[in-house]
Amino acid sequence: MVNPVLFIVVPLGLAFAIPLLKYISKKIIRFVPALAFLFNLIFALRLIPVVMDHQVHVQIGGFIPPLGINLVAGPVGMLFVVLIALVGFLVSIYAFHPIKEKDEDRYHILYMLQLTGATGVVLTGDIFNLFVFFEILCLASYSLVAYLGNRAGIESAVKYLIQGSLGSGLILIGIGLLYGQFGTLNMADIAGRIHSVQSISVYVPLVLFITGFGVEAALFPLNAWLPDAHSSAPSTISAVLSGIAIEVGLYAVLRVVFTLFGITHMMGLFLLLGVLTLLIGELCAFSQDNIKRMLAFSSIGQIGLLVFAFSLASTLGIAGGFFQLISHTLGKALLFLAAGYMIAHTGSMEIASFQGMGKRMPFTSLAFTIGAFSMVGLPPFMGFPGKFMILKAALHDGQMLTLILLVFILIATVIEGAYFFRVVQVLYFAGEDLPDRERAPVAFSRFVPMFLFTGLIIVLGIYPSLITDLLDASALELLDRPDFIKSIIP
């Protein structure tokens, strides 16, 4: 068994080492991220059976919590670690071929730091430590958005920076308030005592956290940075932002709401918020002509669906939410990669310019199509079990509010279907039929990640049982708060 702290330390160390490695050879640094996340992926997968049995707690520096910082590798954490490592690994293969001639080393360093930050956020059991890693994630994201160096990129990065910093500031105030109140920063320790105080002094940190993390999690109306940032970042980064960054933000919100504060009675509000986010995201995506903006708005919509699922606060709902989360991560990463490759080929982000791609780039188009079908929730792809589980949870819940909101979810899904199918039609059927000859060559580094993502989407769509046990355990970890607290602070 490997110590979970290595999932953070190894990529971090390799990121630190890249400037030194550059002296040895400029070529090898592009393989470093893949190496780091392959390590994470393999060992995280091997750790999964262990954490299914019991949570793995790691102390840092030999101090028992709440004195020192501890890591909590439970099912939820490991689920995210595996997901981050998987996406990180595959997307870094895509970047074997340099995104831009200059500053390649900085790209790889920032990319690794971004995902290391994400890994840290999901593993830590300490609220301030969570904030620190969250900052790494955000800072790396800001600069990666501007990486291409065009005007749009820098402008949206600055906007992202302003909103993200505001969010971080709010989180920090919240942490300060909590520390002032309870004198501890350990999440389990705070959680154990939070219900002893029934006043606004606990509520204000809660809303500060929700707002602060909500900015990164792209809850409506905190998500205004997202469309710009996702559309002007390099495609690999869009894939990671959409597939990992906002999910990690959502993880932070979940941790705060379920574990730290143990809220049970405000879920109606979150349900509403989720459906609102969903509807607005899908409606905006529906009227987009720019493919990356469309995908970005679709991410907002998906986050809304996830928020809805998690807000059901039942085992079914949370497990379904996690399934949908994985499905969204894989699907959206695939979509961004495929779209990015096509954009690189045509030089335009307009959907209309993708005419005839089905002939020119058959594999990429197929990958995009499968990703789109999975997003809409068609079997036998991965989106279907996710949607199925969420609907099941919502109907099982059976409250009037849930059922009414369900109608809007269905409408939003239809809208989502409409714009994704439109793109599929453009890929294959719009314009004149081209002869078979005009086929663009497929770069190996582009082909492999898309192929693997596609494969995963199909395999998990057909055998969802491969991961449902882990999802159920994750749901239990979030819901069974007393157990979580007791296992850390006996």
């Binding site: 029934q198 809303v207 809850l219 905006c284 199918f421 039609q425 294959y428 059927f429």
Partner: protein, 618 residues
């Protein structure tokens, strides 16, 4: 043949066909036909069997079950046979087009998933196959590019909406009964309240109604049918929309049970009356809209909508006779409508894509076999005795009249009159009248098109004379639903208030025909006049001034057209535009001014704090 193997053969065969197409086109075409032949043989070998098989024990903790029973058998066989005909028909048809591997792959995938649907024994596998069918159909409809793209879009949006509604209904059934297997649901549904049942029924009716194209959910059908490649149009019209019919029968007779269904709700509003009413509207409006069409395929498409109304009437009426009528009409319609689409497809193929009725005419000389097939198909559609449509329509009329539903019976009759009118328009505009000059060099349809057309024409006649064959299977399935079977024999049906025996009718008609023929033969000596051998006001008329058989329904159509606006279609278009406008409006939230964005964040925070200050939620 085991059910799992059957499914593996069809699905695996589809994929294999696609891959083989990369190597050899000819081998691919043959393999596609072989796969469907194997499927047909496999299904045929399952005749009369009732069994279940477990496909997979745990998909999200639900077992996926397959089952076969006579009712599924007749659907599966029809699907396989019509699918086979369509694939044979494609042999020449598709060669002119691009992306042929894809076409075959999707075609086989659609057929496979339809077989999957009728063989599934639980709602989850039903839904999975249903969705595979939906998206593969979408890709095939869009295959023809240009207008087909809009048609495909319309189809898939409605289809997704319908299947989501079905998903909700399905999961609701699960939360009510704790299982998704059909038998289990039937067993556990006894305790459900009638309100709940109506709710479930309406949910499923939306889903099935969209596939089955019941007014006002039919709007996807006319463009989809007319824009899809013709072999697929025949699959689409012949069997795909009948999957909706299958769903209706399964739900009403297989799950809810027909006694419960008939007695559901009170007199003013219940699902059955609603369905009957919609069935009537579905017969009436589309029949006359079909009359207005000038596009051959669109005309047939509207006719399909109208015929679906008959099936709905039969199914929703809820007696064993009406069910027999509805199911038989499904079976017959599959035969003659796919035949008619092939006829139009053959014409379209030879004339390089001309479907406009007004620019065709006189093709009877050039394509005699196609004409004969078209004539038989049209006869079936109208319900002329000795073709299969007669028996099924007779059963439906008989039910309606015997059970005192004069309104419905009248509507059905009106529908048939309309059918006669548009059928005649179809056959006349294409095959009769003057042959335009440009078509004088036209060839007859290739063999690969003739074979399925002849086969289907024969089937139309054979099942018209021997209706006992399908009715026997239908009886078996009715027994399976726990209903009283009809009294039938090989030649027809015996009921208390009327009997239909095709043997008698056939004899009478044959004798009458011979007498007539003799009468004419002996009474008159006829001469054969050349087409140009006539005069108008004493002067010869140039050949191109002869009537090209255009617009002779104009007086009628101009009279009825104002009442036949497709309001449903306009409604949906307005809805789509509205959503797009709303989307454009909402996008304004993202102004691009970061000051506003920061304000949103503060606003959110302020609202949350306000909630606490005002309502004290914590």
């Amino acid at each position: 043949m085991k059910l799992e193997i059957l499914l593996a053969v069809v699905f695996g065969g589809s994929l294999l066909t696609y891959l083989l197409g990369k190597i050899s086109k000819r081998a691919r075409d043959i393999l596609a036909i072989l796969v469907l032949l194997a499927a047909t043989a496999g299904i045929a070998s399952l005749y009369g069997r009732s069994s279940t098989a477990i496909l997979c024990t745990g998909f999200l903790d639900f077992p996926l079950v397959l089952r076969i029973h006579p009712f599924a058998w007749i659907f599966a066989l029809t699907i396989a046979v019509v699918g086979l005909c369509a694939v044979i028909f494609s042999w020449h048809y598709i060669r002119k087009k691009g992306r042929t591997d894809f076409f075959y792959f999707m075609m086989l995938l659609v057929i496979s998933s339809m077989i999957g649907i009728v063989l599934s024994g639980d709602f989850l596998s039903f839904y999975i196959f249903w969705e595979i069918m939906s998206w593969s159909t979408f890709l095939l409809i869009s295959y023809n590019r240009e207008e087909a793209i809009a048609a495909g879009m319309k189809y898939i949006v409605m289809s997704v909406a319908g299947s989501l509604v079905m998903l909700v209904g399905m999961i609701s059934l699960y939360t009510q009964t704790g299982t998704l297997v059909f038998e289990g649901i039937t067993r556990n549904l006894n305790s459900a309240s009638s309100g709940y049942l109506q709710f479930i029924l309406i949910l499923f009716f939306v889903a099935f109604g969209i596939k089955n194209a019941i007014w006002p959910l039919h709007v996807w059908l006319p463009p989809a049918h007319s824009e899809a490649p013709s072999p697929f149009s025949s699959v689409l019209s012949g069997i795909l929309i009948k999957i909706g019919t299958f769903g209706f029968i399964l739900l009403i007779y297989g799950i809810v049970q027909v006694q419960v269904f008939v007695n559901l709700g009170h007199a003013l509003f219940n699902v059955r009356n609603l369905l009957l009413l919609l069935g009537a509207v579905t017969i009436l409006l589309p029949t006359f809209i079909a009359l207005l069409q000038d596009d051959a395929k669109r005309l047939l498409a509207w006719s399909t909508v109208a015929q679906a109304g008959y099936m709905i009437l039969g199914i929703a009426y809820g007696t064993s006779e009406s069910l027999s009528g509805g199911t038989l009409h499904f079976f017959n319609h599959a035969l003659f409508k796919s035949l008619l689409f092939m006829v139009v497809g053959a014409v379209e193929f030879r004339t390089n894509g001309v479907r406009d009725l007004n620019s065709l005419g006189g093709l009877i000389k050039k394509m005699p076999v196609t004409f004969a097939a078209g004539l038989i198909g049209v006869c079936g559609l109208i319900g002329v005795p000795l073709t299969n449509g007669f028996v099924s329509k007779w059963l439906i009329y008989h039910t309606l009249i015997v059970n005192h539903s004069p309104f419905l019976a009248f509507v059905a009759l009106l529908g048939t009159w309309g059918t006669i009118l548009y059928s005649y328009k179809l056959i006349h505009h294409i095959f009769l009248g003057q042959l335009p000059r440009k078509y004088e060099q036209l060839n007859a349809a290739p063999v690969s098109m003739k074979v399925p057309m002849i086969f289907l024409s024969l089937a139309v006649v054979v099942f018209g004379v021997l209706p006992g064959l399908p009715l026997h299977v239908i009886n078996l399935s009715e027994i399976g639903f726990g209903m009283e079977p009809l009294a039938i024999n090989m030649w027809g049906v015996v009921t208390g208030s009327g009997t239909i025996q095709m043997l008698n009718i056939a004899t009478a008609l044959t004798l009458g025909g011979i007498v007539l023929w003799l009468f004419f033969r002996m009474g008159r000596k006829n001469t054969r006049a050349d087409q140009l051998d006539n005069y108008a006001a004493g002067a010869p008329v140039p050949a191109d001034r002869y009537q090209y058989s255009v617009k002779f329904y104009d007086p009628l159509t101009s009279m009825i057209a104002p009442y036949l606006k497709d309001t449903a279609d306009n409604f949906y278009s307005a809805l789509a535009r509205g959503i797009r406008n709303v989307g454009n409006g909402i996008r304004r939230i993202y102004t691009g001014d970061v000051g506003n964005y920061v304000m949103y964040i503060i606003l959110f925070l302020a609202i949350l704090i306000f909630i606490q200050l005002y309502w004290k939620v914590w």
